[in-house]
Amino acid sequence: MSGETIETADHAMPGPVAEFWRAYRRNVGAIIGLVVFSLITVVAVFAPWLAPYDPAAQFSDAFLVPPLWSDAGSSRFLLGTDDLGRDLLSRLIHGARLSMSIAAVVVCLALTTGMLFGALAGMARGFVETAIMRFMDILLALPSLLLAIVIVAVLGASLTNAVIAVAIVLLPHFTRLTRASIVSELSRDYVTAARLDGAGQLRLLFKTVLPNAAAPLIVQATLAFSSAILDIAALGFLGLGAQPPTPEWGTILSASREFIQRASWTVTLPGLAILVVVLATNLMGDGLRDALDPRLKRG
């Protein structure tokens, strides 16, 4: 793909995708992030085929077996087993599937609702705008995890409620961003031109303004993805998210906490999985921001 891009770029004006890719690949960290993220996505998608065992299968002959690299490790369980004799590798692979898909759902929820509110505030102005934006300020005034915890506490501890809670926590950022972009774009000449051409409000919003506001939203969505992974894991860790025996990374970590002394791998490995995904996403987010936002590109 990259070879093709270079060729076109040499001969003619690069298209937006090619131009983006040229800016993006200059950032080594962003490329590493993209590669790691893609690998984990592949693992997540093909989890049932890649995982050696069922994540819930218990091997009564293999409680707390250490990972392969330690002296007592066995090649049967590459990353060892937990206190119930479940294969940690299989649980982490299925955890990747769970965490990645949950984070994707959370971001989609927050993004669409946030864009809706933001567009409403930006187009309607007046009282509607004030009401929406003040509400977002209130949500932002509460520490993010506290807000999520309280929402879960009210709705009840479950994965679905954790998803709703984290989406609400991320919502204000998207609303503010959409509104700000819309307000600034609406005063531009090309919007006035479109308006003079007879474009209605909806056409103006979807065809003219939103495509131009997409860049910061994409960057924000990437950063929100990493927050979503962290917050869902934190809720799981506190016993307010996914419930055992669901192989969610934070939930696995929480269940293994008491074995930290005897079986440290049951604690270190799930956390490492969270860190790697979040780090890869943040690296990608940084790269996307540099490549998509021309104002920051110079910096």
């Binding site: 960290g29 300020d137 993010s144 506290l146 915890i149 309280v150 930290i260 604690v267 910096g299």
Partner: protein, 335 residues
């Protein structure tokens, strides 16, 4: 300046009212009857049920209930914990110093390490130090801090045995609480070894809580310094032969600090979020752990009051930071 102050207060009041409405609505949004939830699994007789409903005011219209609640809040009455039967405000104030002490040490750690690290990285741009600092700070920024805390416990407490695993002070010490800040109280008590023990208890939680602010401050300082170092007045200062140290610290850093101060102010919210996780891991008897336990125990008045108080602290600190910001940067006031 006065007008600016007024405009800030103009935002503060509706935000506070909004938070009171949110905390008020929370209990009513919970599925099930609040009285039955408070009564627990034992249940309650119909007479007692009606009595309790009247006592908590649940039999009145919503709007009346809200204004009653708001009136109580403004008088400092945040309700009584259904578990401990003590006023929520008293409980909060008793535990708050522990969280405050932890947060202050954490943010001081973050500032003391993050500022110089960011400055050095900017001055030595593209050096190995710069790259490793940026890499480390990105890892710090991405760190699931509950896991980070467990790792530190595993290494320093379990493997090396250097620090205790939980609490604020060893059981062998009996220190009279004067200020609520263990570091000060242990010094005041004059008990030999108590202060050192308090430091040992504090160090790991403070590192865990300070990790994300540290990463954010180092990154912000670096990028802000880079911007300032490219300015004409820095070139002028260099051209007139000023010592590089003075150029960096007297001319550049002062201007680069403006966005850094904002970022430090924004960490209050991060610290409160972090406190919930850090205090849970280290059994630190502060607000975060208390709030979480109140949620587990379904102690709704405590949750409601606690959330409102935490939010108020965050809003107040953010407003103070905004005002401070306008003092350092007069351009803001004129906008």
């Amino acid at each position: 300046m006065f007008r600016y102050l007024l405009s800030k207060l103009g935002i503060l009041v509706p935000t506070f009212l909004g938070v009171t409405f949110l905390t008020f609505a929370l209990i009513r949004l919970a599925p099930g009857d609040p009285v039955l939830i408070m009564a627990g699994e034992r249940g309650v007789s119909p007479e007692r049920y009606a009595e309790l409903r009247a006592q908590f005011g649940f039999d009145q219209p919503m709007l009346v209930q809200y204004f009653n609640y708001l009136g109580d809040v403004l008088r400092g009455d945040l309700g009584i914990s259904v578990v401990t039967h003590t006023p929520v405000l008293t409980e909060f104030l008793g535990l708050f110093p522990a969280t405050l002490e932890l947060a202050i040490i954490a943010i001081m750690l973050a500032i003391c390490l993050g500022l110089p690290a960011g400055v050095i990285a900017a001055v030595k741009r593209n050096s190995p130090f710069d790259y490793s600092l940026m890499g480390t700070s990105l890892i710090g920024y991405s760190m699931p801090i509950f896991w980070w805390g467990l790792l530190l416990i595993l290494f320093f407490s379990i493997n090396l045995g250097w620090t205790p695993v939980a609490g604020r002070l060893g059981f062998e010490y009996d220190v009279e609480p004067v200020t609520g800040f263990m570091l000060i109280d242990t010094l005041l008590s004059g008990e030999p070894g108590a202060f050192k023990d308090a430091v040992h208890h504090l160090i790991l939680p403070a590192i865990v809580l300070g990790t994300i602010p540290l990463a954010v401050i180092a990154r912000m300082t670096r990028s802000s310094m880079l911007e300032v170092l490219g300015e004409d007045y820095i070139r002028t200062a260099r051209a007139k032969g000023l010592h590089p140290f003075l150029v960096v610290f007297q001319h550049a850093l002062r201007n680069a600090l403006i966005p850094v101060v904002t970022v430090i102010g924004l960490q209050v919210s991060v610290l409160m979020t972090g406190a919930i996780l850090t205090e849970t891991i280290f059994s630190w008897p502060g607000i975060g752990k208390w709030l979480l336990e109140s949620i587990y125990r379904r102690d709704y008045p405590a949750v409601q009051g606690g959330v409102l108080l935490v939010a108020t602290v965050v809003i107040l600190v953010n407003t103070v930071v905004d005002l401070l910001y306008s003092v350092i940067n007069p351009k803001i006031r004129k906008q």
